[in-house]
């Protein structure tokens, strides 16, 4: 190994082996040194804070104002106004709340389903494993975008208490149900490798229950790839929500989301391009910052990958 090894690595690695909190600290140190991840975190935090501060805007996101239709960006309306005279910046901030909320919910849903399925299949094996993996394979063979559109189109007209006309929860459920498979495979694969290792055998020997072995001994060791995948999933989910809403089968107006803002812009964007430009910039900034964070996490959890790419190993 030569100069490409990040400084501080060799000195921190030895105490970290004995102490689990040291590993987390080590990952954190490496993460902070990753330039892309740092920029990603900054941009993402700014976006989140801006979105949280949306109610400070002097304008209402849904009430139209017919005197102020389609105004160009100005001091009072930094991003202009839409066809119904609503302040675009305000709508984008409120839309961001919706889009990010869908993203976070999807990550929660996919994690829950994926980790459960993967853990059951990986630890119990046998029939449980083959049945669950068959289901996973079938789900992977779904043309997900097409199914998403179909579900969105069907649920748009439905009025059940929980699944109210493509609410945030509905859309998150629909996206989540179509994208848990990566987690299931990931968790299963890591359990299959880990359960043969000596420390698991030791735990079994002292009489730990299967639940305890999976939750306390195996999953913590798989936390790296799961975290990376969860970060990237946040990005995918936001893209999928905006795509679905862009087609008109996602979040329904007047509730804004980044996707349906773009969709509404389609009527007027030839003459009023800012309507299409700003919501897209927000999606772009979110996705790129999330992807950089994911990339940084991946490199921090797996330093050998960096070395391998550099040709050191």
């Amino acid at each position: 190994m030569s100069s490409d090894v990040p400084a501080g690595w060799a000195t921190t690695v030895s105490p970290a082996i004995h102490e689990p909190s040291g590993v987390a600290q080590l990952v954190w140190v490496r993460f902070q040194r990753h330039p892309g991840a740092r920029a990603g975190v900054v941009v993402f935090l700014i976006l989140v804070i801006a979105v949280l501060l949306a109610p400070l805007s002097p304008y209402d996101p849904e009430i139209s104002s017919l005197e102020q239709q389609l105004e160009s960006p100005s001091w009072s309306h930094p991003m202009g106004t839409d066809a119904l005279g609503r302040d675009l910046l305000t709508r984008i901030l409120y839309g961001g709340r919706i889009s990010l909320m869908v993203g976070v919910l999807v990550v929660g849903i996919t994690l829950t389903i994926g980790v459960t399925v993967g853990a059951l299949a990986g630890y119990w094996g046998g029939l449980v494993d083959s049945v669950l993996m068959r289901i996973t394979d079938a789900a992977l063979a779904l043309p997900s975008l097409l199914v998403l559109v179909l579900l969105g189109a069907i649920l748009r007209d439905i009025d059940l208490p929980l699944l109210k006309q493509n609410s945030v929860v509905t859309i998150a459920l629909v996206i989540g149900i179509l994208s848990w498979m990566t987690f299931a495979r990931l968790v299963r694969a890591s359990i299959l490798t880990l359960r043969e290792l000596d420390f698991v055998t030791a735990a079994r020997a002292v009489g730990a229950s299967p639940e305890r072995i999976v939750l306390r001994h195996i999953l913590p060791n798989a936390v790296g790839p799961i975290t990376v995948e969860a970060t990237l999933e946040l990005g995918y989910a936001i893209i999928e929500e905006s795509g679905l809403s862009f087609l008109g089968f996602g979040i329904q107006p007047p509730t804004p989301s980044w996707g349906n803002l773009l969709s509404n812009a389609q009527e007027n964007f030839l003459r009023y391009p800012w309507l299409a430009i700003f919501p897209g910039v927000m999606i772009f900034l979110t996705i790129i910052s999330v992807n950089y964070i994911g990339d940084g996490l991946r490199d921090s959890f797996d330093p050998y990958r960096v070395l391998k790419q550099a040709g050191e190993l």
Binding site: P143, L146, L150, F249, F284, I287, Q309
Partner: protein
């Protein structure tokens, strides 16, 4: 597997509130008697399980009630999807397969050119940036690739229209530089340049994300390869560098690309929904979008089944090609 999926799709559509005729009721006000007649004509008054069987294998082998008088009098006419009969579109009563068939070449043209452009640019970019790792070129390209992957293609499409249709003008005619939609200028005689002008924006919007992804992918698979021992051996026995790179390194770096291509192909095709909708490109993606808007279930079902079939076939193909290209892989 396909059977399982077909049951899922069929269940989804039939559990929808109002059933498959919901679209009809919304579009026009139809008297209840008319709906009942329509339902029996389309076989929708039967139990779901029967409908599924009819949809799957047809009803020309059983007696059905064709004139809605409650008495079974003749054999049915449906042959079922297993024998290539996907039924008739609710929208225009044309056979679904005919509708799909008419649009298939358009989608194949669009996705084919998109994939070709993406790969033709990504392979050299990925290889060069791996060979000159951490050079200015590599850093620029890697940054752009990261950005390219974060650009939603539907947004890129709108931006391209703003730039090339609204802002930039054709210096000769003064009209828009590029057409904003369609496959060719209506009424104009066939010309290659007209076709290419119509292809330019949809392909650019669709290809950028894939270009970014494949150049990143190829860069890392090339990096994996160039540090392998057999390359050192090849150099050590005095092969010229050109031969080492092209014959030994690139061939091995391209193998994983083939696999990933097989897995990506379905996404490429279904991604056409956005591109075709924005650029009014009359392909299967636009057909699916319109069918979803109008709840044209026979069309939706057909495209879903074909889509799932396509995914399974292309994954299988990727496996086979992988085994052919890489002699280290054996299936027992």
């Amino acid at each position: 597997m396909m059977l399982l999926l077909s049951i899922v799709f069929f269940g989804l559509v039939n559990l929808a509130p109002g059933g498959p005729l919901a679209g009809y009721g919304r579009a026009r006000r139809i008297p209840a008697a008319e709906i009942a007649r329509l339902k029996s004509q389309l076989g929708l008054d039967k139990p779901v399980a029967v409908q599924y069987v009819v949809w799957l294998v047809g009803n020309d082998w059983m007696q059905v009630d064709t004139d809605s008088n409650g008495v079974a009098d003749d054999r049915g006419t449906r042959r079922g999807i297993l024998r290539g009969d996907f039924g008739y579109s609710f929208r225009n009563r044309k056979p679904v397969l005919e509708e799909i068939w008419a649009r298939l070449p358009n989608t194949m043209l669009l996705t084919g050119v998109t994939l070709f452009v993406a790969l033709a640019l990504a392979i050299p970019i990925g290889v060069v940036s791996a060979l000159r790792q951490y050079s200015k070129f590599d850093i620029t390209v890697t940054t752009f690739a990261f950005a390219g992957q974060a650009l939603p293609d539907f947004w890129l499409g709108l931006i391209l229209i703003i730039v090339f249709y609204v802002w930039l003008r054709n210096p000769i005619t003064g009209g828009p530089l590029l057409p904003s939609g369609g496959i060719y200028t209506i009424g104009a005689p066939f010309s290659i340049s007209d076709r290419l002008a119509h292809l330019a924006m949809p392909v650019a919007a669709g290809a950028l994300g894939w270009l970014a992804w494949y150049s990143r992918f190829l860069r890392s698979s090339m990096l994996d390869v160039i540090h392998q021992d057999y390359l050192r051996t090849a150099r050590a026995k005095g092969l010229p560098e050109r031969l080492v790179l092209f014959r030994h390194a690139m061939r091995n770096a391209l193998i994983p690309l083939v696999t990933i291509l097989g897995l990506d192909l379905p996404y490429l095709v279904s991604g056409a929904v956005f591109i075709e909708m924005i650029f009014a490109w009359p392909g299967m993606g636009l057909l699916y979008y319109q069918a979803a808007l109008q709840r044209d279930y026979p069309v939706l079902m057909a495209l879903l089944v074909l889509g799932a079939g396509f995914i399974i076939v292309s994954n299988l193909l990727a496996d086979i090609v992988y085994a052919v290209l890489d002699p280290r892989i054996h299936y027992t």
